[in-house]
Symmetry: D5
Subunit: 95 residues, 10 copies
């Protein structure tokens, strides 16, 4: 099942630079693992913001929750999860 | 450039069945043309609603507007267009 | 996977009484079928409104969409689907 | 009478880890007591968030308030209470 | 248990005057019955609108729903129900 | 003239306990004075929250403002004031 | 006591022109009476809309409701009433 | 003074085609007059919608209201007017 | 041109009392200057809040911005500016 | 492609004055570079606020994101990006 996620990063602008650096780096590593596993399929930046839209694939919302909360940046993420149903005319289904 | 679209169909439940039929059929034809042209890349249903989320590709917002308004159902569509920026870690970029 | 649904009935107060009667009757029949199949697990009325909250079980959002749109009242339903993830302390899990 | 609750935990990500640990542990204990007493009937996680949806049973809103505010995490909870009325076709009534 | 209700009347301004008259008259009769039964305790107009705020007393949300939907104007009412819990310093408790 | 007030207490969960204690105590004293003077007529808790709904009586909005801002907790209160007009069928008018 | 009102006219663009004409004319007459009585003190147009902001003076919300609902256009008005309290530095107080 | 306007056209999809045609044509004529007079300075389409964003110049909100309401489509326009103040670094000031 | 302003003061309840005192005092001085200049014409308190509604007169939004930002409390003000157009039936025009 | 941006500066009123000074100065320099490059075409202040509306030109949302995030104030900016499509009657197209 696919999900559309809107994620806003809330790490404060005056937060500890070292922790920010560490979390961003670890986030990149974990995100690549989730991409390699087919869990994260697409990611786009919201122009002008520290935020993104993304397409995830997971068996259900429970598995999705585990994947999202495995992100090192998660304590500083506002995450909205939108469930998606298959559309008969989806040109990209199965990709 | 890619765009995320949220489209809600507002054709009234007590509208003319023949016109509804005709527009849905024509919509399917036009949607497949736009998919074949690479303009519509993904489409999902919003579960429980006559509505969808979709990913479009167009040179700019002007070309996108022309593509969206070419849909036969357009007079009965509430369309929200969300611009997307490339993300360096997008596993599906270029697909 | 379980889903929380908020459904508002929009059949107009001055709509055709016979059609209203017919749809409500058919709705009851279909709802009982979905309950018997384990798809609809709980239903509550929103006090004061022609609306309800309900818990549904379906393999994914696609199957849920098919179940919801099989309701005879569906053209007159505003449906919001909220995905639910399992909680380790849920006293009613599996019921 | 049953209630639908939406609870968001607002404990800050940079809050004291020891207090966080202590409150989460105590919260689990109290939540299990409320479940054993039949006050908390179902709990689900909101996928991607430190938040949940739950079904509570209490004689009235006053008793519910006492139960909710007995949670050790309560000072850090945003709680929305939605009253539920019985539906004649509820397949899970009385469970 | 007490409830705070916000009710907006949606009878259209160009609706049938005879039906409007009939419903308003019947509404007054039923409202006085509910007041006499102690179900409706206070009613105020929202200044400038065909709408009101009111305090109701009912055993639970199910009984409240039955009382509200017994109003002859109900098909044309937008009703929001807000559950109230007792406050230890309420000067009017029990009145 | 009567007013409906929705008050949310914003004293932070990690605020100084002594000041919190002091303000709550003083708040109770002042609230009882306002009740004795007939200014506060009803108070209910919002279930699950540190917030309340209340009915106030004051000659006008200026007098109401003075009464509300005399509450020792006022710097930590989010106050919404809703003006109420008399309803001819109010069973509790004059009480 | 003074009130700030935001009024939006909802008379439909395809409504009966004769009724529209009649109501607008009668509205002007009644508005001038209310102005002469000191009830309506200021009126401004919302630029670009068939809507206005206005300052009213009335003993209380009940009297204000009577004045507003005496407007011939009232069935087609969306009226929001905002109560105002005196400010010690108001340069226009008493005018 | 410059204003930012967001205009949504609400002419119904099943409205009279002849009237629609007539109003659109007249709208184009009047819009060009306002552009020639320097009142309308920029216009953009909202992609996917029958709506636009535009920059207007007018001595004040009163003159702007007269210009906007001179549009033949005005009865079917939802218009939001946003006042703009000069910015010292505006590269396009005076153009 | 006249403007309607809604101003909410956001100075924190636990802010420095001396700075608060100093800013409030200076605010009063500046507000009286603006009133004497005819820039601030009316001011009302929002009952129950540290906030106000006011009517300002300024040649345009640029001049208004300069006047508002000259308030010593401005860094702690949330200001909403609503442009007003003259109404032919305004009983207070020119006052 | 043109974009409409709404930018709100969130630098706290009690933030470090030296950093504020430094960022504002650097912001001015970078903004002038972006204007000289034709990326920023118009900028207006939101009257009464530390915020602005602006028109940007960029090949796509990705290039726009790079330009916006190059602003030295960016960590303290809330940025909303609105995509614009060309309008056939735009008097300022190409300027």
């Amino acid at each position: 099942m696919e999900f559309l996620l809107n994620i806003v990063v809330t790490f404060p602008p005056d937060g500890d630079p070292a922790e920010k650096e560490r979390r961003i780096k670890a986030e990149g590593v974990r995100a690549r693992e989730l991409a390699a596993a087919g869990t994260i399929k697409r990611v786009w930046r919201v122009p002008g913001q520290w935020a993104n839209w993304s397409i995830w694939e997971a068996p259900d919302a429970t598995a999705l929750h585990e994947a999202v909360t495995s992100l090192p940046m998660w304590p500083y993420l506002d995450v909205e999860v939108i469930p998606l149903a298959a559309h008969p005319n989806d040109p990209g289904a199965g990709k």
